[in-house]
Amino acid sequence: MNPIIEVIDLTMAYGDHPVLHQVSVNVAKSEVIVMIGPSGSGKSTLLRCLNGLEKPQGGDIRIEGQSLMSPAVNMSVIRANIGMVFQQFNLFPHMNVIDNIMLAQVQVRKQSKEAARAKALELLKKVGLTDKAEHRPSSLSGGQAQRVAIARALAMEPSIMLFDEPTSALDPEMVGEVLTVMKQLARDGMTMVVVTHEMGFAREIGDRVLFMEQGVIIEEGKPRQLFDMPRHERTKAFLSKVL
């Protein structure tokens, strides 16, 4: 089976500070990839390259066979098919929860308002926030806001979901409710790339874990193997600090 995401020799630098160095990785359909590593290791940058929020200087990324580096690529079309969840939620503060979820459905997918509203309510039910539909984002807790953000991304019916440290900005007691939603999503067969510090989540849900440091994938493997029998010294050093 062809991989849904192909990353080939990806290289990127901010000025002369290298961020990614010849990174290659494939993601299969329905696979859940978890990226771990110290901050500044390039894992968030790699994730943001996957939907074009960062522009790499070299190498290639292909989503379902379509190269993102091709000058003819329509990024909006690619992005509509890739959901992204941010550390800071990034809900639109001037709109109600339901309008947050409806906006791109109506504007990008050209759904009717009724269809978009029905879809939004269905997703709110799925993340357990039906009663918050008419609330402003500012009245939500962090955990609730992040669940709305996930619902907003899912409303586009993407084939891939990217998560950029989705629980890092949450109070500890709210991490669980977000992870529950993500686990459900993984079980439903969503292709997911997750940058996180939640090692328990990685172990439980990840099909594969990548350990990155200084812009390079140092080691990758099944969670059990990488967490319990890391082969590389740097992986050991990192895990000993976080576990």
């Binding site: 990024m75 992005r79 098919n81």
Partner: protein, 217 residues
């Protein structure tokens, strides 16, 4: 100092008529100016140089030259070019709107840049185009934040409109100049003009404050 209230009373109806025109000119100018200013800033922030350079030049020109000169240029250059003859009120509105557009463009820019980058990224990640992102996500947030600055700009514009007396648009300053010309006196015409402007700008700032409060609530 002798102060002749009688000549102020004489001119009061005309000063008030002038005040109405000042209000009309100011409202139309801020209206056209803020629409034009939006177009200017969107052009300036565009990635195409053939849009951003001219708009950048526009802002530099109108912020960097005296309004006095701009009024004359519009009155004797632009307006006759467009409608075939001079018309002081059209020129007044056009000059003030063009000038104010340069300032409101910068107000918009500050507002747009104050919106968190994450908002743009979130919109992009949902597949929204640049244009959709600007229209549905960035501008609604930016414009709300610019309202206090717009209030200041409006008040400045009301005062700046006194310069159009130069081309004989019959607003407040025009009538006070007429009073000055008739009686060859300075204090009565200028002080009565100042009081009328003060009343206008004070009421305006109260009005704007209440609009801001309503938007907050």
């Amino acid at each position: 100092m002798d102060f002749r209230f009688d000549i102020i009373i004489d001119y009061l109806p005309l000063l008030l008529k002038g005040a109405l025109l000042t209000i009309g000119i100011s409202i139309l100018s801020i209206l056209f100016g803020s629409i034009l200013g939006l177009a200017v800033v969107l052009g300036k922030m565009s990635t195409s140089w053939y849009l951003s350079w001219p708009m950048s030049g526009y802002i530099h020109f109108f912020r960097g030259t005296p309004l006095y000169v701009q009024i004359l240029m519009v009155h004797f250059g632009l307006v006759p070019l467009l409608i075939g003859q001079t018309n002081s009120i059209v020129a007044a509105v056009a000059a003030l709107a063009l000038n104010s557009a340069a300032y409101t463009a910068e107000i918009y820019r500050a507002g747009i840049q104050s919106v968190d980058k994450g908002q743009t990224e979130a919109a992009y990640s949902l597949g929204m185009t640049k244009r959709q992102t600007m229209r549905f996500v960035i501008l609604p947030q930016a414009i709300k934040r610019t309202i206090p600055a717009f209030g200041n700009e409006f008040i400045m514009l009301v005062k700046d409109s006194s310069l159009v007396a130069l081309i004989a648009a019959p607003e407040i300053m025009y009538w006070s100049n007429a009073m000055r010309g008739q009686y060859i006196r300075v204090w009565e015409p200028y002080l009565s003009a100042a009081v009328i402007y003060l009343i206008l700008t004070y009421s305006l700032s109260k009005l704007l404050a209440s609009i801001e409060r309503r938007l907050e609530g």
